[in-house]
Symmetry: C2
Subunit: 388 residues, 2 copies
């Protein structure tokens, strides 16, 4: 397999972007990534687009071709493929782009992730998101993701003594990081009291335990590592990529407090990168709900199972802790345009490894990890990146 590097990154502002269309968002992110990479349009061999439910959200399928067209590349007829795996759609697009270069088919690939969730045709965003759950076992009976993650949280509290206050501390940390990120949807800091006293959504999760409904797009340019220096003097290598699946329905898991898809995807990525979790300097993890970040840092091997709550309490994962997590603000504060999230995580890790993360820069960050989950954990993708 050929080595692959990230050579360009681009993001739109995340938020309720009522005045920007799907086409505007993805071309804004893509053109920023292309400009940042040093490539020209003629260098692009292929495109991959992650989007969870463009069909339901905006009434448009076939968005791979749409994005190539809207970007002005239709006259070059380059292949453009949409990939979907619920909220992990973005990182699946990254992985397919990575594989297409590793195979030798392509040298330069532009990857995009996008979701336009606020201006919704037909259903509410929560109804559409519930289509990432198991229809026959969950969605038909009214289950939505806040409810499913609330069950995980309740069990985690029962099994491991995790507290509502520890959940709140995840949100407080991520809002603090998000306050330093000009692209984040929510830039205000919040307190533990704000989170604890917020309107309940699905006990024990309140409003501030949940990631928001977000419009936004992210893009990266991938390049065969041996050709990256032609375009940029700051390539970041993808040294590990792992993907794993699990049951679509939560109830069928052996332990609902563990996302086995994370465990397996991480194992695959660590093995390929030939590193241990201890060597990670900075991580973006999938905090769609506060409990999800606690499970993630356990399942990724950063702390032992059951000790995630304590780790948050002990500030291990804050910006100046021993392993900063979600320096971008995470899904919680930066926002969660589902198809864009996995690509946006790679954008943040690349910024950190290039030393371009400004006020949220982690000192001496050399190896970073991105962790993206679909649904309640039926899909997980983990990428490990290293500055070269």
């Amino acid at each position: 397999m050929r080595d692959v590097a990230v050579i360009g990154i681009g993001l739109t502002k995340f938020g309720e972007l009522w005045d920007k269309s799907f086409r505007q968002l993805i071309t804004e992110a893509g053109s920023k990534a292309i400009l940042d990479s040093g490539i020209e349009g003629k260098n692009i061999d292929a495109m991959y687009i992650g989007s969870m439910s463009s069909g339901r959200f905006i009434g448009q399928e076939h968005v791979g071709a749409l994005v190539a067209d809207a970007s002005g590349f239709s006259h070059r007829h380059i292949p453009s493929t949409r990939v979907e795996g619920a909220c992990a759609s973005g990182s699946l697009a990254v992985r397919e782009g990575f594989l297409s270069i590793a195979s030798g088919m392509n040298d330069v690939v532009v990857v995009g992730g996008i979701e336009k969730m606020n201006d919704v045709a037909g259903a509410t965003a929560t109804e559409t998101l519930a289509m990432a759950a198991d229809q026959e076992w969950e969605a038909f009976f009214g289950a939505t993701f806040p409810g499913l993650y609330a069950m995980i949280a309740m069990r985690h509290m029962y099994e491991h003594g995790t507290t509502k206050k520890q959940l709140a501390q995840v949100a407080v940390k991520n809002h603090k990081n998000g306050s330093l990120n000009p692209y984040a949807q929510y830039r205000q800091e919040i307190t533990v009291e704000h989170v604890m006293n917020a309107s309940p959504v699905a006990y024990p999760l309140g409003l501030f335990d949940c990631s928001p409904v977000t419009d936004g797009a992210a893009s990266i340019v991938l390049c065969a590592a041996d050709k990256a220096k032609k375009y940029t003097d700051k390539p970041v290598k993808i040294i590990g990529s792992g993907q794993a699946s699990d049951t679509l329905a939560l109830h069928a898991r052996r332990d609902i407090c563990t996302l086995d898809s994370t465990v397996y995807a991480a194992k695959m990525a660590y093995k390929k990168a030939n590193i241990t979790p201890k060597q990670i300097d900075v991580a973006e993890v999938h905090d769609c709900f506060t409990i999800a970040e606690i499970c993630a840092i356990e399942d990724l091997g950063f702390v032992k199972k059951g000790e995630g709550g304590k780790a948050i309490e002990n500030k291990i994962t804050t910006l100046d802790g021993s392993l900063p997590v979600n320096t971008s603000g995470g899904l919680k504060s930066k926002g969660h345009p589902v198809g864009a999230t996995g690509v946006a995580q790679i954008v943040e890790i690349t910024k950190q490894l290039r030393g371009e993360a400004d006020k949220r820069q982690v000192k001496n960050a050399r190896i970073g990890l991105a962790h993206n989950v679909g649904g309640s954990g039926a899909t997980c993708v983990v990428h490990i990146l290293e500055a070269v």
Copy 2:
């Protein structure tokens, strides 16, 4: 790039399958392909699923993970990824599976394609299919695919003298082939008079010029070519794979009678296979409407631009012609469950190259081609296969 072979194939019956669910269809096709291949579940490294609009058709996204789960593979946590490119979703899944093996990441990959179109939640099938067209330039103004392809047909008649009778002859040929295919939706033969006198849909296209709304699934097992003999004594090698894009909206093309995405995808596939169109012994092409088959045989280089109608009239593409096209019955008679179509084409070509096509067997077929189109041609994928 490592060589890749098809080592197993499986199909469900195509048709209005009101009594079979999405899960039943895809697992039926998948288990047939796995049984046919000689592999066991433990050999599978990854899965790719092509589906155009599971979100709109059945209210379920995240169908990559769903299929892995429904197939009983969730405990093995193998990666499973959904790919979408409108009616080319199936062949995009084939291509991503192919690339993941070519890269060295996987040795054995199961590819599935599926659409459940009759039992539709919310919209009609035609409305959902129109989401493969350009929403802002076409769908919002009421354009649906019969209308778009009717415009192509009108122009083709004007530019090249193609006749309504020649269009009809495509349908007659494909129904004849379909009558020999036990998996086809429509097994009755029809006459030119049937087609010419059928209810108009969008002039010049009548009811029998259009492919039907179909439920169905198809599956293939791909394997690194150097390991294929471990499992089967009849591997079929993928010697070429090409993919190309074009404008999403029809009006923006340089010539609506030519699908440039086909021209470019075919060029890429022929080059990789190191062959010319003359060397193709059998082809499955994307005849969503009769005019589409005429364009396809021109754009693939089988005949010159404008001579497709004459080629049909001269019976070049019949079962005993010099280049049999759509021996399976094509989308027209076999049926067109959109996400399954691209995979089902590979199933038919593999049958032909193995000599297992029974009454529709093409004599001495050694090299076959599959051509799958998304929308009115914004996406095209071409694969070339060879018996080894």
